[in-house]
Assembly symmetry: C2
Homo-oligomer: 329 residues x 2
């Protein structure tokens, strides 16, 4: 896999330098760290922080800004940030009302975020957290106990970021998060594997006419390989998996996210979106909010994921529709 890179071991540092010079009105970097912090006046509200390994851009640094994340902690490629980096983010983002951590369900992330939480609490900072495990494809995985955290995490950023901006307390945000996360389900499919910078080989290799359902955002295995189907058949497979998870609901209203994994063009993402729309309409499921694009990627992987958020609470849609000042939302 050809890549536009200098030294692969330095790729995250150079990426962050490029981000900072390009968006200096919005974000700043805590020197010598992978912490990206928003440039905004501190107003004594809860700070919402997320992060994880790099390689998923624009997640998470692209979602730092007013109304969304206070800071993002960027680890090396597909590698959890260290506890001291997360602690640094907590300390710089803290405004006096506590810090809320949004953690994707990977063993390394959970261990390091929890350690940072303990260290911050020892320094007298109030910290709470939620673990996002929206990927319904498989139970347990290469780096995960239980279900993986993927693109649905961005709905959590958006909704909790809005709650914080509205002045909700850390206890209220914790309650909101615990109710929100089970309402978010995602599932992906890959047309190609993904090659980390410096590696010679992709994580897995698919045939010229083959796809894999349920692949993770680090190239973790999915649940089935088969010949590439039409967009409509792909949409039907993913949608069925998701609606099966939700079961029968009283209300029929959802927000959806069609997320490109990095190498799939917008044209295909919109064709797929049209199929999701048509299929959901046939099932009398209403889509009240759409988010389409490369949001939680896996480097240059071709493929996409579908996320559904069950709009159990009117607050979710109010939060999704609120304006933000970020690079990429």
């Amino acid at each position: 896999m050809k890549k536009i890179v200098n030294d692969p071991t330095n790729i995250v540092d150079e990426m962050l330098k490029g981000m900072i010079v390009s968006h200096s009105e919005l974000i700043q970097r805590v020197p010598e760290t992978g912490v990206i912090q928003r440039k905004a006046e501190k107003t004594g509200k809860v700070a919402v922080i997320s992060g994880g390994g790099s390689g998923h851009e624009p997640a998470h640094a692209g979602f730092v800004g007013e109304g969304m994340l206070s800071a993002a902690v960027c680890g090396e490629v597909f590698t959890s940030p260290t506890p001291d980096q997360i602690l640094e983010a907590i300390k710089v983002a803290e405004e006096g009302a506590g810090v809320f951590l949004v953690i994707k369900n990977y063993s390394g992330d959970i261990m390091n975020f929890e350690m940072a939480q303990e260290l911050a609490e020892m320094e007298g900072i109030e910290v709470a957290s939620v673990v996002v495990d929206d990927d319904v494809a498989v139970e347990d995985s290469l780096y995960t106990q239980g279900k993986r955290g993927v693109a649905g995490t961005l709905f959590v950023h958006k909704i909790l970021g809005y709650a914080a901006q509205q002045g909700q307390s850390i206890a209220e945000i914790k309650e909101l998060a615990d109710k929100l996360v089970p309402n978010i389900k995602s599932i992906g499919l890959a047309l190609t594997g993904v090659t980390t910078p410096g590696s010679k080989q992709p994580s897995f290799i698919l045939g010229d006419d083959e796809i894999e359902y349920g692949v993770g955002i680090h190239g973790e295995p999915g649940y089935r390989r088969e010949k590439l189907q039409s967009s409509r058949d792909l949409a039907e497979e993913l949608l069925t998996k998701l609606t099966d998870e939700f079961g029968e609901k009283e209300e029929k209203n959802f927000a959806i996210m069609v997320n490109g994994l990095g190498g799939t063009p917008l044209m295909e993402q919109y064709v797929f979106t049209n199929d999701v729309y048509t299929l959901m309409k046939e099932q009398n499921l209403t889509i009240d909010y759409y988010k389409i694009g490369n949001l939680m990627t896996s480097l240059e992987m071709q493929g996409l994921s579908l996320t559904m958020l069950y709009l159990e609470d009117d607050f979710y849609i109010e939060a999704l529709q609120a304006p933000v000042t970020t690079i990429s939302w």
Copy 2:
């Protein structure tokens, strides 16, 4: 090349349907056409319109909205929209102050936009236009007399869209456009070819360690193939070509655009941006505005382009920094 698609011959129609359902608060489609129109109150100002073949998403429909384009005309993949479609766009976008067409320099686009202009003028609508030919890589090309129009076109959309929003007349916008376009220079490089939907083969094939400088956004040939270099060396090559074109300038201030061609992840785009920043700083060239991302793509092609806009007039930077309401700017 695997693609998420149903019927390749219907891909643009299905993409537009997906766009419309996803962004119904911002845009609407003129029924039975490839015309995407903004949903905004008409206020008697000049309407700026652009368009061309599809396959470059988010260009151009992603840039329809207040402060930018009034409408975009979406042709089939890599195929100019027909004169009647362009005429339809002119008629629906017109607010009484005339319509300004931004045309990328491809023979088919020029022929069809000019024909539509004549037809509209026969119906009493005042129309003016500019042809963008920012790609300095080669003189003449597969589909072009002179230089190709590529990503720099988006700076034209943004600046003319702002001028229109400010209430400039069509004569003023024409004068602005004629002065602006020679200040914009672009050049690209490809790591892979591009395969149109339904085709079995890409437009060209590069070796596993090979790149091509100067490739066009439809896979048109560039000016040199060689082994993949470091990001910094790639940046130096592209930057040198651009600064050579500009020659000696009194002021040293530029806006830049690093544009992903569809299959290159944001991580690599930011690494490259950091190299451009460093090299320009060494040459005492100042960057006053950055735009980074997949903006004028070539389906799933891996590669990127660099655009420099010489900030000859303070109005350019004012226009670039003004807020807009679009899907993708």
